[in-house]
């Protein structure tokens, strides 16, 4: 479990992160979203005890960050994937992983078994003895991801895990992360890929120096956009909107792209009454659906459409 309290960091007077308060539960996949310079990497580095915080504090699985001897303990139970793979190019993927496994103190008996299992999961076992320098960018990223998991960490920090990967490789990595998610470890993902975060993460935080919003993608969409019911008819007549407006709980009734839309607080409870009224008015309803708001819509509303 990760808990931050008023966490902040400045660099020469420039605030990178301020008053960050987050709670990430055990076994949760948590996404951190934000524009460049929002402090995502700085947050991750503070939590992984790579740099010190200027204000506040945080606990990772009960250990306080940047406080000895807790720092060393935190580093031993977390896995980190930084922005760049940072592999030793002249060494093979197996040697790279073996080096880190030894440094993390993985017992010799388990080391080979663990490396083989991870490389097989990411379809790299056949090339385990080739120098990393001969690998594609995507393959290097996969090796870097396996490195973060080589010591079977309880918490994993992944900074842009699918950056630079083609769609097929991204899918492999996503499947890999989903498989590891089932093992109950806490995964903390920094990403620009909203779609990926939406698919992988149980909850997310949108941050720009501080957390602007925290919740599941669905919760956030509802919180910032409300819920909208969409009616599609065989033939949309102007009077149908007035029928809906007659209900006090219906707000923002409008016609868009040949569909009638209405914002509702509790669509599950209200929709039957609206359907009934429209049917009585002679409407032939073909579909009643909920308007899906993507994480991107929430993100753009909160971050204000800042250029990436």
């Amino acid at each position: 479990m990760i808990e931050t309290s008023g966490l902040g960091r400045s660099f020469d007077g420039n605030v990178a992160v301020e008053d960050l308060n987050l709670k990430v539960k055990q076994g949760e996949v948590f996404g951190l979203l934000g524009p460049n310079g929002a402090g995502k990497t700085t947050t991750m580095r503070m939590l992984a005890c790579l740099i010190k915080q200027s204000t506040g504090t945080a606990f990772v699985n009960g250990y306080e960050i940047n406080k000895e001897p807790d720092s060393e303990k935190i580093r031993s139970i977390v896995g980190v994937l930084p922005e760049s793979p940072g592999l030793y190019e002249s060494l093979s993927s197996a040697k790279n992983l073996d080096f880190y496994a030894r440094l993390y103190g993985v017992p010799s008996g388990k080391r080979e078994e663990r490396i083989e299992s991870l490389l097989r999961m990411l379809e790299l076992w056949d090339r385990k003895d080739e120098p990393v320098a001969t690998f594609s960018k995507g393959m290097k990223q996969k090796i870097a991801i396996t490195r973060a998991f080589v010591h079977d960490p309880q918490v994993v920090f992944l900074d842009e895990p699918t950056a630079g990967l083609d769609p097929a490789a991204s899918l492999t990595v996503r499947e890999f992360l989903i498989a590891l998610k089932k093992e109950g470890r806490t995964v903390f993902i920094n990403s620009h890929h909203l779609d990926e975060v939406e698919r992988l993460c149980d909850r997310i935080a949108i941050m720009n120096r501080t957390a602007l919003a925290v919740g599941s993608p669905k919760e956030l969409a509802r919180r910032y956009w409300g819920r909208t019911t969409v009616f599609e008819f065989a033939e949309l007549l102007p009077g149908y909107a007035d029928v809906i407006r007659g209900f006090g709980f219906a707000s923002n009734v409008r016609v868009e792209e040949g569909r009638l839309m209405v914002d509702l607080d509790d669509p599950e409870a209200r929709n039957p009454a609206l359907v009934d009224a429209l049917s009585r008015a002679g409407a032939k309803i073909e579909y009643v659906t909920e308007l899906k708001r993507s994480l991107e819509d929430v993100y753009m509303r909160l971050v204000g459409g800042e250029k990436e």
Partner: protein
């Protein structure tokens, strides 16, 4: 401090060195040149002088005049005995010279004893306890007592060779450390390394240790090879094996490791400021300057070949190492590396 973690880092770095042809060339070729080729060149004048000193000279004198307490200048003298005389710019044949000073003169088939001889030429002479400088030319002559000229020549050449050998533990870290520290920085492989439970000190010890081991292994092998080459070439002529002497033992066991540590730690500091392996190597090359200074002072005879200045210099280097270690420990920590290293 867990040494097993430092050793894991050191082993990984050494595996990388093994696969880097530039590093391997630096570790193997440069030391081979210094330890195998240079000694061959250096022992030639020693052997030449040593052979001259073994020439057997049998002289018979027919003294017709004796001079003492005078100054002899621009003279040509035959069959004379000189005692307590200052001889300058003169030519002497079949003479005996005792307790005198000689400068810029020429002697043939003469006996010189307990005198100081400078910038002169001696041919078929018998010399007893002379103080000769390197400006003299001696041919087919015989030494009796200590051959000061040969001793001086040996001291200077062996010391210069030693100083060249000490350049090995300075040069190798300049190359290896630039790859090990700047290379990792450029390759961005430091961050995952810093994310491990290894402490800053363990990482610094591991990375520096690998460079130290490789550099000192190469250095000590070079010292050994140079010693063998010098002894094999000069032993039969001198009648004894001149190396290793005290000066070399201090050089090998104190100065070389001290210079190696200085080079490694300085490169750690340089690595925090540069982003290019070659720039790091060039700046690291500046470290050669104090050694070259020592080299030229020795050549010029400004420094004594006595062991005391060697000890003083070596311990000065070790003291400087402590200061540089303190600075490198401040530079090599997670916060600094991730925030301030450019």
């Amino acid at each position: 401090m867990r040494w097993d973690r430092a050793w894991i880092v050191a082993r990984k770095d050494m595996a990388e060195f093994w696969r880097n042809k530039y590093i391997m060339m630096t570790i193997v070729l440069m030391p081979m040149f210094i330890s195998l080729v240079l000694p061959v060149v250096y022992v030639v004048p020693i052997n030449q002088l040593a052979r001259q000193s073994t020439s057997e000279v049998n002289l018979e004198f027919d003294i017709t005049a004796t001079y003492s307490n005078i100054t002899l200048t621009n003279a040509i003298m035959y069959d004379a005995l000189f005692e307590n005389v200052a001889i300058k710019n003169s030519i002497l044949n079949g003479c005996i010279v005792r307790n005198s000073t000689v400068e810029n003169s020429s002697f043939t088939e003469s006996h010189l004893e307990l005198s100081q001889v400078k910038d002169s030429m001696l041919f078929r002479c018998y010399m007893v306890d002379l103080t000769l400088d390197l400006g003299n030319t001696v041919r087919e002559s015989q030494y009796a007592g200590e051959n000061q000229e040969l001793e001086d020549l040996k001291a200077v050449l062996f010391n210069v060779l030693l100083i060249l050998l000490v350049m090995i533990p300075v040069m190798i870290p300049t190359v290896t450390a630039s790859y090990s520290f700047v290379g990792e920085k450029v390759n961005r492989s430091l961050e995952p390394l810093l994310a491990t439970p290894a402490t800053d000190l363990e990482l610094l010890a591991g990375k520096s240790g690998s460079i130290f081991l490789v550099s000192m292994a190469s250095t000590w092998v070079s010292f050994l090879l140079a010693t063998i080459v010098v002894d094999l070439l000069t032993g039969p002529v001198l009648g004894y094996y001149p190396l290793p002497n005290d000066y070399w033992i201090v050089g090998v066991l104190v100065l070389a490791p001290g210079m190696c540590a200085m080079s490694i730690l300085t490169n750690v500091i340089i690595s925090s400021k540069v982003n290019d392996v070659r720039v790091s190597q060039q700046i690291g090359g500046v470290l050669i300057l104090p050694i070259l200074m020592f080299f030229f002072f020795t050549l010029a005879g400004a420094l004594s070949t006595d062991i005391v200045p060697m000890f003083a210099f070596s311990f000065g280097v070790l003291a400087a190492d402590v200061v540089i270690l303190w600075i490198s420990l401040r530079v090599f920590n997670r916060e600094e590396i991730l925030v301030s290293w450019k």
